[in-house]
């Protein structure tokens, strides 16, 4: 194997693997620190997430959200943009979905209502990303700062809308009324039942197909279209992009719209798929989780599917840990997210010098 080939193996496979393992190891140390046997905890976690039908359903249902936000973060990363605003875009995207699903003519067929409600999520998610994108592109304000601000704005806006506008008369809790039935995405267990197979009930719904569709679409878009090329080119080198006739400002706006739109899909899983109403903080944590998923999945749709599945396992398994063990709660998943972001993101190159020295040393003759 040539040195270049070895280096690409190190960068593409070994480094991410070592990073993820380090994050897990660090979690293990935290388990020991709080007096929980890490092996026991891992067993409970894996059994809870994969050991039986219902658990697996929950795992895939959580994973669906992470696919959406992971793709959102990844698309922006390819253009060299760091979209921390997934949290807010997912939230406002949910509003778009809800508006369609609440107010469309209830007599319409699901074949029209569902695509429209999904489009509502895409549109509102994109809208929530467009102002930070515009400000970055044309006024030079840093997108990280503006998207953080927009997360807080989204949260204030949604509280206002839910409390003052969408809340039904006489209701105490700030949530909307029920979506019209035609907008409900079928549960997977119902779909299986209609074919005569009986599987355990879980919140897993057909959003997972939407997630798979958009994973493929993002892959095709980024690597097989002119726009995708332009985005990746602008992300690699702004100057090279300009010389090849690409307008980096336009790229920033388009990329962020796509990114926001993808984040806006969290609502279809949570709202159209499961709760059938809009409520506070349905998006909680998925936007930030998306950062971990994208970093772990190396910004590639296949990697993101794997990473999202892993985080689905952690979410569902974490719930099981909460239930089984006294000393640990579901928040251990948040700790793991932080560790994954730290080791796969911030400390991405921690092991690189040592791996290069042992596996691909520079020879005197080269």
């Amino acid at each position: 194997m040539t040195r270049d080939r070895r280096l690409s193996w190190i960068n593409g496979l070994l480094l991410p693997l070592f990073n993820v393992l380090t994050a897990f190891l660090a979690t293990g140390i935290i388990f020991l620190f709080i007096g929980v046997d890490p092996v026991e905890a891992t067993k409970i976690l894996i059994y809870g997430a994969l050991g039986y039908d219902e658990g697996l359903g929950y795992t895939l249902y959580y994973a669906t959200n992470f696919v959406f936000t992971g793709l959102a973060v990844a698309v922006a990363f390819h253009a060299g943009l760091f979209n921390i605003g997934g949290e807010g875009q997912a939230y406002v995207g949910g509003l778009g979905t809800a508006l369609v699903a609440l107010y469309i003519n209830p007599a319409m067929s699901a074949w029209i209502v569902i695509p429209l409600a999904i489009s509502g999520g895409l549109l509102f998610g994109a809208l929530w990303a467009i102002i930070p994108a515009y400000l970055q592109a044309y006024r030079g304000s840093h997108i990280v700062i503006t998207t953080i601000m927009f997360n807080f704005l989204a949260s204030s806006l949604m509280v206002y809308i839910l409390v003052n506008i969408l809340r039904e008369v006489g209701e105490m809790s700030p949530e909307s009324g029920d979506f019209i039935a035609a907008s409900w995405l079928p549960f997977v267990h119902d779909v299986f039942a209609s074919f005569g197979y009986k599987i355990a009930k879980s919140p897993l719904n057909l959003s997972i197909l939407v997630a798979l569709f958009f994973s493929a679409a993002v892959w095709f878009f980024l690597w097989h279209t002119r726009w995708g090329f332009a985005i990746r080119a602008a992300g690699k080198s702004n100057e090279a992009a300009i010389y090849s006739g690409i307008d980096p400002k336009k790229i920033i706006v388009v990329t962020m719209c796509i990114s926001g739109a993808l984040a806006g899909l969290v609502g279809i899983n949570e709202l159209m798929g499961v709760q059938h109403r809009l409520f506070l903080n349905f998006n909680y944590g998925y936007g930030f989780g998306g950062i971990a998923v994208a970093l772990m999945g190396r910004n590639h749709p296949v990697g993101i599917l794997i990473a999202a599945f892993l985080f689905g396992i952690l979410y569902q398994g974490g719930a099981e840990l909460d239930f089984e063990l006294q000393n640990v709660s579901r928040d251990i998943v948040v700790v793991m997210q932080g560790l994954v972001i730290l080791f796969c993101g911030g400390l991405e190159y921690l092991y690189k010098p040592i791996l290069v020295r042992f596996l691909a040393p520079v020879k005197e003759s080269e």
Binding site: I291, V328, G338, L350
Partner: protein, 324 residues
Amino acid sequence: MSDFFLTAIMTLDASVRVCVPLIFAAMAGLFAERSGIVDIGLEGKLLMSAFVAASAASVFGSPWLGLIAGMFASVVLAMIHGFASITYKGNQIVSGVAINILASGLTMILTLAWFKRGGITPTLQGDERFLSITLPGVDIIDHIPILGVVYRELISGHNILVYLAFAIVPVVWWVVYRTRFGLRLRAVGENPKAVDTAGLSVEGLRYRALLIGGILCGIGGAYLSTAYNAQFTKEMTAGGGFIALAALIFGKWHPYKVLAACFLFAFLQALAIRLQGVIIPGVGEIPVQLIDAAPYILTIILLAGFIGKATPPKASAQPYIKEL
């Protein structure tokens, strides 16, 4: 004495209390960003310190030990940030996000493991927390109209950390603009190569900036849980680290202007609580959410270049790679 005057004094008094963690965090951010490190992790450091300070104060029965423990915890996070972004030249924003999320998760896990209750530490009793101090002379000035009330209600009667927060701003100004370290700090944020060429360590300066930031955030967090409140509660920083970040930008990375921005944002928060459900003649009821969102809206408008221009230190967010 009109009611309006008293209400105004009370609102200002509340602003002072809300302002304190913002000042500490914003000054911490100022050191980091002036050295060329974007510090998204202020929120996480505040939160972690608030938790550790409340835990230590409760276990050892002393707010001072709590303060020291809180500063230590915050410095540890700052050093992790430094290790990733200075030594390993990783993305500063990514490691900042990691710190926020880690702090959010760890505080929940550790409260449960140590105190058997998720997200809460035991309530601090009596002198386990920082108590308010009555300044000398309150009795003497008290009979003077207006001044007496201002002195008694607004200036006197805060705890020591409040006075420290306001005292630290001129110190920060002095360090940044009048000392050799400050000159080097500003230089390393604008042009690290020049600093390197002068034979100074870019990495060393940046680590020191983060160390100071860690200590300051630590005090801010300890204030929240052992002075302003009497225990740690889940996510008690409630975005304060990000408001501090906004204030840092709004104040254009200058200590006094940042202080003014912190106070403005704190005043808006205090006002939001006052105005809840109040109907203003001719305007109607102002939505609380709008006032809550005001710091962010103002910062975005500033960033968009509509009210002045916010230019960050030139080298911020760029790891320094030494040429060989």
